[in-house]
Every structure is written in structure tokens, then in C-alpha cells.
Symmetry: C2
Subunit: 437 residues, 2 copies
């Protein structure tokens, strides 16, 4: 299978081990060695890794787990999100794709090539089973998270292409139209979705590109979006990132260290939906491409900006006082008797107190997609939230926000999607297997 | 100027010093302290910085120098490139914009806010003079490089709006049409360009966004492109990056450590063009958005891929043998008498031997701009080259490549631009001042 004179690469070797700075004398490793180890220093140690903390680009997250990775995993800095349309009506072909995607994802997330042969081995007269642009790159904390859209169960013509309609979760419907939505169908929906998060954009892009390659003939990319977060791997990892309005975003986000709250708000419990028991332990992924009018925003006063958000720009503290993590006091009034946090401030309307106590696990990324036809930056927030039920945990809040949030003057939702995210994948299984069994 | 109760930020403080992990007890620094210091550990020291090498995100490059930064500067990992159209015919307004851009760039590249007050100080009822999304982020090696397009001297209607036509360099003409060009006017040309390179995308985006804000009423963004390179700050910094064909790209690139070659091939010498003496010490920036048909490429054999490039995929060695940095032997024949490096191989046609010995300083970035209407990744290489004269150093080679390079089957040039890049900026001056004096 290998041609020694052509610098063979065996499938079981990590990209880095073969080509990286510590690549001398690479030894064959059993495939099992690489799996399930988070930040294994022995495999990935190299000159630049110092101190006790594993640098972000060297991190690896286990692929096989009770929940899919990329949800409660610490948020990486880069995103490549892709929605796919299944181009066949053949149920076995769909299952086969999910099997092949699962196998590739298990490898890619551990820093290996997409296929067993790797980008430069295998038959010289066949296409490589990995595209190669990630050769030499570390795992970069890559996670791959798969979701099933409403149209996989019943397409826009109402057809049940794959015999799945009877198992469609009741909550898995296309999101309703919200006031001020201006959705682009070419940036919305999709039968399948894959969220690739990593601390190196090339690693995230490489993963999506190889999954698209593997899907050739069965599914094709409907749309995709690249996003970036805050600073790179030398950050403390705890600082709240800033959105393109210059404000801290996601201060009140659920944290992975709050398993009880994740059970309450993120994971679908067993028995939640008798038709969709296959989704127990999974969640729903809400994606919204939120375009931000940054140029008009940049011409508003600091006072106006802070009033619309309800927090200070510098520290992110509620306008009612304290510091970033202080609870906002919505009743506290200032001079003149007006509340310090205005009635239409974003922090008030998005707060659990205004939303029946619901909370979301958010994983948003900033995006800049060049310019609009009007010479403005085509920029904004690619909002991702994981919730146990969009009917209680997203739709009511977004209905309220889109009608009353003062910030909406500067926002336009231009893309949208909802997917059911199956639970974690056991070794030997494939993503969503319980749906098909 | 500051409002102490509102977490004041003085203009002379770095973003990091104020808000970063080492931010306690920030002291006022003279503005001069921050300037001209590359990787000043004292200013930027924090917990994650270890070892003797300065992490990429902590690097700062001097703004005032004999040449503009961002040309011979070690290539950073992220790009935000923007082309601007000047929306006024008023020469003093153009000069004023260049002054204000210069002042902002001198600050931004040192990790400071775009304006003297910063994102959260200044009059509370005025727009902040910095947009704030880079608060807390390190300088990230940001460089800002400015260029003047042919249309600044004479617009498409032939008008000399700013009285500059008499000083237009003879070499500064819109690039000719090359075979197989499929240029999108909305991704081509522009009166001005700004290349922002940094090791953090948010820092690069922040810089372009603030320069666009400053230009409001005088110039607007015509188009912009985001790019990414290879791995992030823990890399050795010496590894040749890979393009989206999975091959190493730029092996034969000019290096900053070759000043003699830079003089020969990059910097415009004094006396080169009597009408454009203002450009001496500057260079020309050629930008080409090269779309790559990655899906068809992924279905070709490793043999075909290597034959088209003329190098091995794994190590990047010429097919005539050796290692990555070995000189290709174009005469060496294999079995059957055919040359090991084919007649239409990219490495042969792009080699200086086939191009009168000319060399370029390249600064290319991979891009992925979502998907095309055909469900393919809208991906490729945003090619940037700096040359002393495009008539000798780019046009002949591209004419030959576009007609004969076997790789062209998988490439389409979809954007194009040429700009004259003035020399470095002395303290108290502004970019291109000699053009206006």
C-alpha cells in the first residue's frame, strides 16, 4: 500500500508526527493510541509547548463520548460551519455516508488524515483519501458536530425520502418567521449540518472540505460560513470575547462546568418525545446569521451604544453597577427615575428573568464576508445556540427580541437553520444510528 | 477627557495593558514608549508568554521605517485586504484622509486604539474613536500597507480628479487581460488599497474596519477579502505553508533575509521613472484572487497532482529529486526519456529560469468564501506579490502561465488589482506625502 521511495505516510500516524518539528524517527502507532486522549503531551510534545497548560493548537478532544463534542467543549477560536443537501433518495446511501463521515471525523479530530492511507500514500494512480492541506498541522482542538435538519425527515415537497418522517421530533420544524427577518434561502436550512470548530482555520476548513469530498454523489454543500472568535492560543481562555459592536458577548452563557444546568437547558432528556427517543442525550442546534450594521453603529455615541446593550463597553458591567459578572438590577433607577438599564436594552430582554428562566449554551463567532454592494462590510455574528427544545428555549425569546430589542435597528437576520443533534457516538457506531435502527 | 467613573482609557495605553491579564495598576506611558519596539516583553509580558521567543500574537513591528511594513516583514497568518474608492474629487480631503490613516495605522500597529481617546473614553455623547472589538487583544504582529491604484491618478472616465496624472508611474496601469481570466469587477481594482496582516483575524479586521470608519465621507470600501495561512503561533515559523491543493506553496519565494535580492526584485530604485520619483523605495502590489476548483482536484490521482505541480505532495521536493529546497533539474529524464518534471508543470513555468530570472516576494493567503451557487466551496488563493516593476516581474510570467500551465485547468482568476506602494513613512509625514508635494 505504501511506496517507500515516495515518502510513505501510514494512516495511523498523526500529521504532526510525520511532518512536524518532532517528526524525526516516526514510529508506527496502533490506531487506538491516538483515540480518546485529551492533550496527550507524549504524542504532541514539541519545542514550543511549555508550562503545564497544553497550547490550544495542540489540544485533542475525544470523539467517542456520551454527547457529541463541540457543544460543551470549551469554545475554540475558529469556525467552519457547513449545511449539506442530500442529493439522493437512497436510504442505504445516506446511512453509508453517515458511517463514512463518522469514521473520518473520528480520525480528523485526533489530528489524523481523513482516510486510512493519508494524503500522500495509497495507490499512486488514485485520488488520495485526504486532501493534504493540513499536513504538519496539529489537531488544533478540532471538534466535528453533526445535525439533522427538518428536511431530512420530510422535504419541502412533503416527501419522506428516507422513511424517517415517523421519527421526526415534534420540535424539529423550520423556525418561524420573526419580525425583521430578511433570510437568504442560500444561507438557510439544509438536510444535514456539520459544525467544525478548531483553533486553526486551516484545520477547520480541511475537515469540512474532506467531509464534502467524502459526500460526493450523496450530499453536497448547500452553504457554509467561516467565523472567528477572539484572540488566539495564548489567551487565558477565560476572557469573554467581543462581538463586532465592540462589546463583550456571552457573559451569561451556560458553562461546561455546570452539568446540572446543561441537563436542564441543553440535553434532550429520555422520554421527552416518544417519536424521537433516538435524540435522547442529544440537543438542538439553532444557527442564525446575524448581519450587523457596523458603520451606522460606529457613528453612534458611546452613551447610545451602552444604553442599547445595557452594559458598559469597557468592562461589560451591567449599567446598574458592579462588574462583568454582577447580576443586573433591572429595577435600579437613576436620576429622573428612569431605570439605569433601559426597557429596550438587550441585556434586559435577553435575560433569563424575561424569558421564563430559560438559558442557552451559545457558541457564536464573528464573521466578515467581504463587502455588500453598498460598500459596507458584510459582517456580523454567526449565532449558534444549543438548546433542549427550541419551542421553549429559543422561539419565544427571539420573538420578543426581534419585536422590542432596541439593538434590532442595527441587526438583520440573514440566515437561519435548525438541526437535531444526535447524542454521542459509541465506538463501532455512527452518528444518528439509533434513528435508523 | 477621561471620565474616571466610567473606566477611563487613555490613548497612550496599549489595549492589553488596560484590559489584559496583566492589566492591574496600569500606568500612563508616554506615547513614544510604545513606538518602534518589536516584541517588547516588558510591555506585553503575561502568563502565557514563555521561553525566549516572543509568541506571534505578542509581536509588534515598527511602523516608521525606510519601507512600509507588511512587505518584507515575516508573513503573518491572517489577512484582511481592502480596496477603497475615493468618493470625493477634493484633493485636500484625500490628503487629509492619508494623514488620518497614517496616524491611526501608527497606533493600531503598536496595539493601541485607532484614536487618541480609545474605545471607551472621550466624550460620552460622541462616537468613540475606536470601535472596541480589539480591546484586550495583543498587537498580533499587525502590519498595515497602503497602495495607490491607477484610478487614483486618472479615473475610468479619464479624469485627473486630484491633479496627480502627471506623476502616474508608467508601470501603474490596470493589468492586461490574461487568457482564462474571469474577473469580477466587484472584486477588482480600487483607488486605494490597504493590506492588513496579523496573527489574529480579529486584529486585522479591527484595523480595516477602523480605517473604513475614518474614511467615511472621503472613501468607501470597494471590496475586501479575508485570508488565512497555515498554523498559528506555535509553529516554528519556518515551515512552508500549504495551499488548498494540499501542496507547499512559495518554496522559492524571496526571503526578507536576502536584502540584495529584494533590491533587485522588489524595491523601486531611485531614477527608475522620472515621473514617479515619489515611488523610490516603494514597490508594486499585485493582487489576484485565484479561485481553485478543489472538488475536481480532489478527484484526480496523486500522480496527476504531482505531475501538474512538478513537486511531491508530501515533502514538496522537485520531481527531479532531492528535498524541498533542492533546485529542480528540468532536463533530468526518467524511463521513456520524458522529463521527470513535465513541460507544462507549474514549477517549471513559474521558475526564474523560464522567466528571465525574475523573482517575486509573495504573500499569499488561502481563502474560503462560503459556497458557489453550484454547491462547491468558493475557495482558493488570494495571491499577493510585491515587485519592482509589474511589466518585467509579473505580466510576462502570468501571460505564459495562463496560456500553458497545466494547473490552469483547476484555476480561475476572479479578482485582480495593481497598486503602487509608496516607501516607508517618516515620523511626522504621511503615506505617499512625496506624491503630493
Amino acid at each position: 500500500m505504501t511506496e517507500p521511495e515516495r515518502e510513505p505516510t501510514a494512516g495511523g500516524l498523526s500529521r504532526r508526527r510525520l511532518f512536524g518539528t518532532a517528526g524525526a524517527g516516526a514510529a508506527l502507532l496502533g490506531a487506538g493510541v491516538a483515540a480518546g486522549v485529551v492533550g496527550d503531551r507524549a504524542l504532541h510534545d514539541h519545542g514550543a509547548a511549555t508550562g503545564s497548560a497544553v497550547p490550544a493548537v495542540e489540544r485533542r478532544y475525544p470523539f467517542h463520548d456520551g454527547h457529541q463534542a463541540g457543544i460543551a467543549t470549551p469554545v475554540q477560536d475558529r469556525l467552519h460551519f457547513a449545511a449539506f443537501d442530500v442529493t439522493t433518495d437512497d436510504r442505504p446511501a445516506l446511512i453509508d455516508l453517515l458511517r463514512r463521515w463518522t469514521a473520518a471525523a473520528a480520525r480528523l479530530t485526533q489530528g489524523l488524515g481523513a482516510g486510512e492511507l493519508g494524503p500522500t500514500s495509497g495507490p499512486y494512480d488514485a485520488p488520495p483519501d485526504d486532501t493534504g492541506e493540513a499536513i504538519g498541522l496539529p489537531p488544533a482542538g478540532l471538534t466535528l458536530t453533526f445535525g439533522f435538519g427538518p428536511s431530512l425527515f420530510r422535504d419541502d415537497q412533503g416527501r419522506d425520502r428516507f422513511g424517517l418522517a415517523g421519527r421526526q421530533p415534534a420540535a424539529l420544524r423550520r423556525l418561524p418567521h420573526f419580525p425583521a427577518d430578511k433570510l437568504d434561502p442560500a444561507r438557510s436550512d439544509g438536510d444535514l449540518c456539520v459544525q467544525a470548530c478548531a483553533d486553526d482555520p486551516q484545520v477547520a476548513v480541511h475537515a469540512i472540505r474532506n467531509l464534502a469530498r467524502i459526500a460526493f454523489g450523496t450530499a453536497s454543500v448547500r452553504w457554509s460560513e467561516l467565523g472567528f472568535g477572539r484572540t488566539s492560543s495564548t489567551s487565558t481562555g477565560q476572557q469573554t470575547p467581543r462581538n463586532l459592536f465592540g462589546f463583550k458577548d456571552g457573559t451569561a452563557n451556560l458553562k461546561a462546568e455546570e452539568p446540572g444546568l446543561l441537563d436542564d437547558h441543553v440535553w434532550v432528556p429520555a422520554g421527552a418525545d416518544p417519536r424521537a427517543e433516538w435524540l435522547a442525550g442529544g440537543t438542538y442546534l439553532v444557527a442564525r446569521r446575524i448581519s450587523m450594521a457596523v458603520e451606522p453603529w460606529d457613528r453612534t455615541s458611546l452613551r447610545e451604544q451602552e444604553a442599547l446593550i445595557g452594559r458598559t463597553k469597557a468592562a461589560g458591567a451591567p449599567l446598574s453597577g458592579g462588574s462583568e459578572f454582577s447580576q443586573p438590577d433591572f429595577r435600579l433607577a437613576g436620576r429622573g427615575g428612569e431605570p439605569l438599564i433601559a426597557a429596550d436594552a438587550h441585556v434586559r430582554l435577553a435575560h433569563p428573568d424575561a424569558n421564563d428562566g430559560v438559558r442557552m449554551l451559545r457558541r457564536g463567532f464573528n464573521f466578515v464576508d467581504g463587502t455588500t454592494g453598498l460598500g459596507r462590510l458584510d459582517a456580523g455574528l454567526f449565532f449558534i445556540a444549543f438548546v433542549r427544545d427550541p419551542r421553549t428555549h429559543y422561539i419565544p425569546m427571539q420573538t420578543r427580541l426581534s419585536a422590542t430589542d432596541g439593538l434590532m435597528e442595527y441587526l438583520q437576520h440573514t440566515g437561519s437553520g435548525l438541526w437535531a443533534v444526535p447524542p454521542g457516538i459509541a465506538e463501532g457506531s455512527f452518528v444518528g444510528e439509533a434513528l435508523f435502527s
